[in-house]
């Protein structure tokens, strides 16, 4: 009888403890602050790494974190911001879709009291975002341009595949590259066309260009996804050995092809470094820090067949 009462008391104790624990953890969940990661597209592995790293770092720092995909569409991006503002998030880690078109979304979040930290891509405003961590695309492409001249020579024909025309990175990369290459009159650009940072479009656009220009020496691509597409087009046309491909991003698949001698060079942008820093800035903001520099350049490093061993997993190997 005594044992029976003891068992019953123990069961009540366990049940009460379990109930209290559940209530406590629910209360903790309810009070856990939320960080939104808004990314321009998840249709490119580089941006997946950027978003996933930002999310993982936010979780490590004790936040709930959710990724929102804007699908390279400013309207979807605006809807994501509306949703985030209405859903009680405390901060936004933001990879914008359009340097001008995304300003209003950031401003709306600011008005609602949410700090926004831009990653990789810029918005054309210095008073909307709390801080912007931006790859130094221009000087990265100056380095690529110098290497391009070394590899291709001072005479030749080349094609340029541009990214999204509304993104400043597209033009900073193009201008950095041309600031060098245009100084060599023997290097002729036979076509310049947007493939919207997209691998499939890179393939499609270069295939069409090759029809009219079968004798090119090189392709300069504003990102690695387009470089992969361009390389595929060259393989299909049987020209991959004679045409040098240059990318930009430091995507793993391109770094591997550089190691295999199939792609000539890329610019390593360190997406993980930027994403982690953005999450840490958000954490610092939520703990009271307010004095952030508006624009924080992140250096880009040239990855070539000579130094490719130092790079991998979207950064420098340690």
């Amino acid at each position: 009888m005594k044992t029976h009462w003891l068992k019953l008391a123990l069961a009540v104790l366990v049940a009460t403890a379990a109930m209290l624990f559940t209530q406590n953890s629910s209360a903790q969940d309810a009070t856990k602050q939320k960080i939104a990661v808004v990314v321009s597209t998840l249709n490119n592995p580089w941006f997946v790494v950027l978003a996933e790293t930002a999310k993982a770092r936010a979780i490590e720092l004790g936040y709930d974190a959710t990724i929102f995909d804007s699908q390279n569409d400013t309207a979807k991006e605006a809807a994501n911001f509306e949703n985030i503002i209405a859903s009680g998030y405390q901060a936004i880690l933001f990879n914008p879709t359009d340097a001008n078109g995304s300003v209003a979304n950031v401003q709306k979040a600011k008005t609602a009291g949410l700090p926004v930290f831009c990653i990789d891509r810029e918005i054309n405003s210095t008073n909307a975002a709390t801080a912007q961590m931006l790859s130094d695309s221009y000087s990265g492409c100056v380095k690529l341009g110098e290497y391009f001249v070394e590899q291709v020579g001072e005479n030749g024909k080349y094609v340029e595949l541009l990214g999204l025309v509304g993104d400043n990175n597209t033009w900073n990369r193009s201008k950095g590259f041309h600031s060098v290459v245009d100084r060599y009159p023997g290097l002729k650009m036979v076509a310049q066309q947007s493939a919207e940072f997209d691998r499939a479009k890179g393939l499609e656009v270069l295939e069409a260009i090759l029809q009219k220009n079968p004798d090119i020496n090189a392709v300069f691509c504003g990102n690695d996804a387009m470089a992969m597409g361009a390389y595929q087009a060259l393989v299909a046309a049987g020209k991959d050995k004679q045409v040098k491909v240059f990318g930009f991003d430091g995507a793993d698949d391109v770094v591997k092809l550089i190691a295999e001698g199939k792609i000539t060079a890329t610019g390593m942008q360190f997406p993980k470094k930027m994403a982690r820093q953005a999450a840490e800035f958000a954490d610092q903001y939520l703990h009271g820090k307010r004095d952030f520099p508006q624009k924080i350049p992140v250096a880009v490093e040239l990855v070539t067949q000579e130094n490719v061993g130092k790079y991998g997993d979207y950064g420098r190997k340690h």
Binding site: A99, E122, N124, S125, T126, M133, L134, D136, Y138, S139, V142, K143, G145, E146, L162, V165, N168, W171, N172, S174, K175, G176, S179, V180, R183, Q192, S194, F270, K273, M274, Q277, P293, Q294, K295, I296, P297, V298, A299
Partner: protein
């Protein structure tokens, strides 16, 4: 027949109207991008004003090149922190330097200077070829990216500042710098994280004064 004539006249009129008031224009992508970027910012004017009103009036802020080189060889990380600056999440260090040296060689790459008397080791290289990149823009620490809403403008400024150096300073270096001549200079340098041996340090000049040997 009358209707055909009227139709031809109408088409002619329409063609005339569209000639002067076209419904659409074909514009090259690059030209449109350039138009948008240039709408608010004139890099040539900005660079000229910056050069004359700020940069040339700040040459006394530059660190002594000999002191910096000695510090770099003694303790590079400390010297980088003490005399240089790093931008954002970057690993390269930028320096704003000045000094006086003796020309020890003149090559296609540039003019090499020795800073110490009686020693022909080249300490500094003043490049005289094509200039690229942001070393001049960022080296002095006088310009801040955060004050430029559009980074394209900030980058256009680099190209303009390089152009000023190429057109106003480099020709006299190429033509007049002879071995044995004394040159006083101020300029900007950038050292990568893994640059162990920095001599001769390339310094892009923003001011030079030549004395005959």
């Amino acid at each position: 027949m009358k209707r055909a004539v009227l139709a031809v006249i109408a088409l002619g009129l329409l063609a005339g109207i569209f000639r002067f008031v076209p419904l659409f224009h074909f514009v090259p992508l690059k030209q449109e991008q350039g138009r948008q970027a240039a709408a608010e910012f004139n890099p040539t004017n900005f660079a000229a004003a910056f050069w004359n009103d700020r940069l040339l009036k700040s040459l006394d802020r530059a660190a002594d090149a000999g002191t910096v080189l000695a510090a770099l060889s003694a303790d590079s990380p400390k010297a980088r922190t003490q005399f240089g600056r790093t931008l954002g999440l970057s690993s390269a260090t930028l320096f704003f330097l000045r000094g006086t040296g003796r020309v020890v060689s003149v090559t296609k790459k540039g003019v090499s200077l020795a800073l110490k008397n009686g020693d022909d080791t080249a300490d500094i290289l003043l490049p005289t070829g094509l200039l690229f990149g942001n070393t001049v823009r960022d080296g002095t620490g006088l310009l801040d990216a955060s004050t430029f809403p559009n980074s394209q403008n900030f980058n256009d400024l680099s190209a303009e500042l390089n152009r000023i150096v190429e057109t106003t300073l480099l020709p006299q270096l190429r033509e007049k710098a002879k071995v044995g001549a004394k040159i006083s200079f101020a300029g900007c340098a950038e050292i990568a994280e893994d640059d162990a041996d920095v001599k001769p340090l390339p310094v892009i000049p923003v001011a030079v004064k030549l004395e005959s040997p």
